[in-house]
Symmetry: C2
Subunit: 493 residues, 2 copies
């Protein structure tokens, strides 16, 4: 495509993701249905553009006049959210196109996913209208979430308002909303989330091409089932992955899962082995499920762009040394024993007995103060081989002390001090630190621990420290960062 | 061993796990140290036997006179908990033996794990005393947890008082206490948990032989690093697994992890591949980490002893159909599409649009009532191929309704009704039902959801329904049940 075309396309995407004039078609005065829900959700999110609700019956909703049809709206729209019955969609979409809207998301279901002749025909009409000059997300999707413009997914009035570097593309609306919710407390900031459903117009390949060029997006993630054109899809991943990581969760890799991928388009089949091999060739990061996707996104969001060959682990808990080494080895990471000199210095800081200064450094006692932990981390960082440190925090143990003092555990556990301490060491040493917030106690008697740890997680994240629930999850996520930058470096050499 | 010997051994174990007369050596009047902690923990747990605290300084602790030495105790002890410095241990142990105690647990560290000549010599002395006629757990361990007698692990005053079918053997004390805590809210009842540390006397093989015969234990689980005698160990697993499942988490399977296994005894090395192959031969269930161990234990605890070839999945959430089929296929389980007749009947119960009655059954709307879910589950069970049902509960969505009503979500979400409903269907149909309690929201704003789900989990567990956090975890656990009973059946044929 030539430069002019390219500029127009980028400008169109800008109008789609950050609309100033937005129509919602299917807002009823009674407030029922998806359209009204979206209106409310956008207001709750603090959407600052102008919203034009539309319904043939007219009336008023939430203090705003409802237009009877798109044709009555006196301005050029940037974007439209369409939530009317499937049959009514083509006419509405055509009206949006004539208005000059850059794009529309169609939340309505009832198209090719039904497998009926009528549904397939309706979707074909959408594709034809799109081809005449309006970009379409959907149908049968949850739409776009963009924290900067406050566009939100169906039904999300409670998604984070904070932008970040992670974009997510998903055929499945459920995956999109689940990732958006998990990301909120796990510390993932999103640039754009697009649930594209049936993908009648915009889908994986074209959106990927856009995200590769999008300065707001530093990490591209996706959940895909079927793809439309394997060759161009993998070409786009390869092109994108020269400049930013592309994390892929592929659903339907089992024969049974494959059969479930109701594939209205010419979808690429292929076994697990083929997918894995092709994704590796294009330097995509492969994850098995949403949890691994969120964890990998967190690591790519907060860690420097490099390979972490060797790490230290400081903490405690069940079989720390063996568990850490098993996990690290599985992902090609070393946990080198520290020099005798460092072991002596760290050993002097550790409580006796039961501690170990070898690496993993087992502090043995969960009440070792942030001050002492700081000294341990500072010393460990002096080993030139160590690229990154993991600290396993056993803050949940403070409930014992809180109980003895008759105070809430959130008051007693020194999580803020710990977060500050770790951030200080990270700055001073220039080596990233990853936090594991262990908690074996999650029953009704221990909700206070859960609350304290949720607060602690926020303090860590606010200081740029990634937090994981389990050590092996942290190590797996670091392993993904290593694979990606290792391969990218090899390609560039 | 002959019958008489065998009876004596069983009687000794009875005195060890359910002691009536118990000494704690190392209880100080000031209340510091492990001994005093154990005294308090046993009282908190409601230990009903008689406790004899011991300390050379004498005095009084918590209203009980402290004996200056074991020799002064006027009764025959069943068991002793020893928490004195390593050097003092042999004399104390010998005094316990002379008293006639059946066994002792040595919580003290400072033995062969140090790798020093002195530590190795001290442990040798312990072994020699044990050989003269007292069974020893430890040293360098967290001891025994037995809910029926209320013996508890270091430092566990807050472990469950409820007995159950699961026994756990662990070299690592940290793993033992973590499993005990996780088990408490995950619904695992324990018969006996033994953290045996350095295993100077009692360790994996002999304890396994005992547990295989223990009527209180229906499921044997273990975390092991090094083993002392591979041949007899695997022979005992094979013998035990004819009558009960043996679940093994082997730490140190990586070369680095293996190096961490500080192996004071002749420990069996061997790669991952060798271990996996041998464990499969003896029909042990292999798990990778503590989470998988807890989940497998839960499935074996609550599911009938059989193979579940085909299952149904009822629920919703991101990409349900594809995700469920991918997970099921990975563990050799089928999710067969229901007959057209059943699909029609179930389809009539489901909200439109977006639902699917195929299997997985996607209810599309999270607010489908327990009554309707009951009818769906009853219909699904009519398919003769279905051996087990999984229901994915999306109770967390009720926060939206709770907010609209201005009520707490724990009041609004119908979790008790749902638990009763599911239990009723299970009874009526004779097919087990497994619950997945999904929750993508775990931030500081959603602690009320976490609380509601913790309450819900308890209601499900109280009715014998296993609960998992994620669908793939539930399916993996069912897969373990299938592998075990499948192989056992094949062996018996």
């Amino acid at each position: 495509m030539d430069q002019k075309n390219c500029d127009t396309i980028i400008a169109d995407y800008e109008r789609i993701f950050h609309p100033q004039k937005l129509a919602i078609v299917g807002v009823s005065e009674e407030g029922t249905g998806f359209g009204s829900g979206m209106f409310n959700a956008l207001q709750a999110m603090g959407f600052e553009g102008e919203i034009f609700p539309v319904n043939p019956k007219g009336g008023e909703f939430s203090g705003t006049d409802i237009y009877r049809q798109i044709e009555d709206i006196p301005v050029r729209l940037d974007f439209a959210i369409i939530c009317v019955t499937a049959k009514a969609v083509p006419d509405v979409l055509e009206a949006c196109r004539k208005n000059g809207a850059a794009g529309a998301e169609i939340l309505s279901a009832g198209f090719s996913e039904l497998g009926t002749a009528e549904g397939i025909e309706l979707e074909k009409k959408i594709r034809q209208i799109a081809a005449k000059g309006i970009r379409v997300v959907g149908p049968n999707c949850f739409g776009i979430y963009c924290p900067r413009s406050r566009l939100t997914l169906l039904p999300g009035p409670d998604l984070s308002r904070r932008s970040g570097p992670v974009a997510f593309l998903s055929q499945s609306g459920g995956m999109a909303i689940d990732f958006a919710h998990k990301g909120k407390w796990m510390g993932i900031g999103f640039s754009k989330v697009v649930s594209f459903g049936n993908g009648a117009d915009l889908r994986e390949t074209e959106l990927l091409r856009y995200l590769a060029r999008d300065p707001e997006t530093r990490i591209i993630t996706m959940y895909i089932e079927g793809i439309k054109d394997g060759d161009s899809f993998f070409r786009e991943i390869k092109a994108a992955s020269y400049s930013k990581p592309v994390i892929v969760c592929k659903g339907g890799l089992s024969p049974a899962g494959q059969r479930m991928v109701v594939s209205h388009t010419a979808s690429m089949g292929g076994s697990r082995v083929i997918w894995q091999s092709v994704l590796t060739q294009v330097n995509a990061i492969q994850v098995q499920d949403l949890e691994e996707l969120v964890e990998a996104s967190l690591a790519f969001s907060l860690l420097p762009e490099k390979v972490f060959k060797a790490i230290s682990v400081v903490g405690g808990g069940g079989a720390l040394g063996v568990t850490a080494c098993d996990a690290a080895e599985a992902f090609g990471i070393e946990i080198p024993p520290l020099s005798a000199d460092l072991q002596t210095r760290i050993g002097e800081l550790l409580p006796k007995p039961g501690s170990s200064a070898l690496n993993p450094i087992d502090v043995a006692n969960p009440f070792v103060s942030p001050k002492v932990l700081k000294e341990i981390l500072r010393n460990t960082a002096q080993d030139d081989r160590i690229d990154l440190q993991i600290i396993i925090s056993l803050l949940y143990h403070y409930k014992t002390i809180a109980r003895a003092l008759g105070k809430p555990v959130a008051e007693v556990a020194p999580y803020r001090e710990l977060a500050e301490t770790i951030r200080d060491v990270m700055k001073e040493t220039g080596k990233p630190i990853v936090v594991v917030l262990a908690n074996p106690k999650r029953g009704v008697d221990d909700l206070d621990i859960i609350e304290m740890l949720a607060l602690a997680r926020r303090e860590f994240l606010d200081r740029g420290l990634p937090v994981f629930d389990e050590l092996h999850e942290a190590i797996r996520a670091i392993g993904h960062v290593n694979s990606y930058y290792g391969r990218r470096k090899a390609e560039n050499e």
